[in-house]
Symmetry: C2
Subunit: 337 residues, 2 copies
DNA sequence: CACCACCCGTATAACGTTATAGAGGCACGG
DNA sequence: CCGTGCCTCTATAACGTTATACGGGTGGTG
């Protein structure tokens, strides 16, 4: 069915290798023959068979982006950026959904795609340093998001502890004293621990007490869980006057619970999230958030992975902390008002 | 680097072909040798090289899902379903973002992935029947979303006209008379025309006049545009008492504009969208919407594509209309209140 | 004029699979 | 005892590329 190099070669009256060289520009080809070959290519509508190319080259041209949930707009936005960047480097990006499942993460880390992909960009949730070190697959790995350190792989993340500090400081600055944290998690969710640590440290440095009853644990980082836990907090003996949420989705769930309970935001309860998803710019009230530089994270992750795959980058593994900034919106009171 | 069939064959003391047969189960293999081969596979940790397999089989194992925007939660949710379904059939799904750009759509439809993918699931925005008919690529194509008809390809969509009817009927039923439509579009956006037609027809059958000044055109189907156009409508001489939006994103933008203007929803203005994205279940107010069966659309699209690829399905092309239902939420007043 | 260097092009061997044709052994019926 | 057929297994030819080694001209140089 397809037009192959052979067809082009016959038509142009040259050898296979020459056509290949015209296509790849790997070796110089004389002006005259190049013309003829190019013309044959155009006429027959040739495009290379990637399976064959990849077989020969030992690469597949595919890279995977493994994220815990596609439905989380943060990851959808990140994926869009990564797909674009990958295409720019001649790679196709495939998405892998780990659903924040430990088994799925282990499988992916170490093999399920072993011969399918040239490299992996991975946002781990459930696994840590030991599991990453135990990996046997030999394709390059770039980690995104915090939680795993001191491993021989490139790593791109924001400083979660510092981000939490910024959020809490902002809430303190607008006069809040009883600041809750929604999104603490059980054992293996590393980044939840880091954001929690930042929360706790920032409270201390602001001279505020840490109150365990103001920390809400969630099973997942979803709107639903944000709503559920916010309701619980409101029903407690001494409800908070501010909420710092693990991410924007939880924050939006919290906003919903607050609206249902008839609480005014930010007057009664102020809310801050992390991620700066588009949704938070249009919610009522709009959501104050810590905005990571998604563009930078997505592009950098792809670039470093590609560099490793192609052997351009041989330096030791690198950890990059990308910048973030606080974006004030209505949920903590706009600067003007 | 990789372990190949050859390595397994040597270790197990059998031929290449036998190992291949054990792996694929294509031909029966004796119990004894099967054991030995399987053991060798386990010991050496073999996994097949997909590039080679695909080259040989003439298929890549990749299918593409081309959508206008990954950032639109509707498509993100659909993508997640399709990825899962594809994996279940042994295919890897790659996402293609057309950004609702005509050139990008044409390119994709007809070649950019010609040798990369076995089939394409396509949600066209800018192209119509003629362009689809002019396609030269020979891989199967499944269309999703409305707008292109009478082409020799499977096609899965909801009935946009009927969906619009349902939305308008609901608004009429709760007593609205001045119903606006946000999301009309210029020339080539087929589904916008269909939803607009349903809007117009439903008005007529409800005995309401069609008022051009209540139709708002948007450049894209985004929250931002929903907000902008809603503002314009509110500023007009005789603002609407209800809004039917092309999709939930626009509806959410409209909700935001209404909130900023101090309008009560649904008392002053009721709002209905289409898509049933998660976001609309947590917005304030929650959003009444027409819910397509995304699970069905995503799964069916993949299944039919795979059937075409593998030649299982040889029947003439089929158009399937998947069900939808109206979900009443706060933005049109809950049934109880 | 012989030699080397160079440029442009060719022939060919991989890459790891799978499908096809066929070889060897064994049982069975004639 | 031989042909026939089945059941396992093997040898091998593709699939479409790219990389390597090589050949045949041309021009410059000693």
């Amino acid at each position: 069915m397809g037009v192959s190099l052979k067809d082009i070669a016959e038509r142009a009256g040259v050898s296979l290798a020459t056509v290949s060289n015209v296509v790849n520009g790997y070796r110089p080809v004389g002006e005259h023959t190049r013309r003829r070959v190019q013309q044959a290519i155009d006429e027959l509508g040739y495009s290379p068979n990637l399976s064959a190319r990849h077989l020969r080259r030992g690469r597949t041209g595919l890279i995977a982006l493994a994220i815990p949930e596609l439905n989380n707009p943060y990851f959808a936005e990140l994926a869009e950026i990564a797909i674009r960047e990958a295409a720019g480097h001649g790679y196709t990006l495939v998405m892998e959904n780990t659903a924040a499942d430990r088994q799925a993460e282990l499988l992916l880390l170490d093999g399920s795609r072993r011969h399918t992909i040239d490299g992996l960009i991975f946002s781990p949730v459930r696994i840590g340093r030991d599991e990453v070190l135990a990996r046997t697959a030999d394709s390059p790995l770039v980690l995104i998001g915090e939680g795993v350190y001191d491993v021989p792989h490139d790593h791109i993340a924001i400083d979660n502890v510092a981000a939490s500090h910024a959020a809490i400081q902002h809430l303190v600055a607008i006069g809040r004293r009883r600041i809750a944290f929604i999104g603490a998690a059980s054992g293996d969710r590393q980044s939840a621990h880091l954001r929690m640590r930042g929360y706790r440290e920032a409270l201390t440095s602001a001279g505020l007490p840490f109150r365990p009853e103001l920390v809400a644990r969630t099973d997942e980082f979803s709107r639903r869980e944000g709503m559920r836990t916010m309701r619980d907090l409101l029903a407690s003996a001494d409800p908070p006057d501010a909420v710092f949420a693990y991410n924007d989705l939880i924050a939006i769930g919290a906003l919903r619970a607050l609206a249902e309970a008839g609480c005014r935001v930010p007057e009664d309860v102020a809310v801050v999230g992390i991620d700066d998803i588009e949704e938070g710019r249009f919610s009522s009230p709009t959501l104050t958030t810590i905005a990571p530089d998604k563009e930078e994270i997505g592009r950098l992750a792809v670039r470093r992975l590609v560099a490793r795959i192609e052997g351009t980058e041989v330096a030791a593994s690198l950890t990059v902390q990308t910048p973030f900034r606080l974006i004030r919106r209505e949920s903590t009171g706009t600067p003007g008002s």
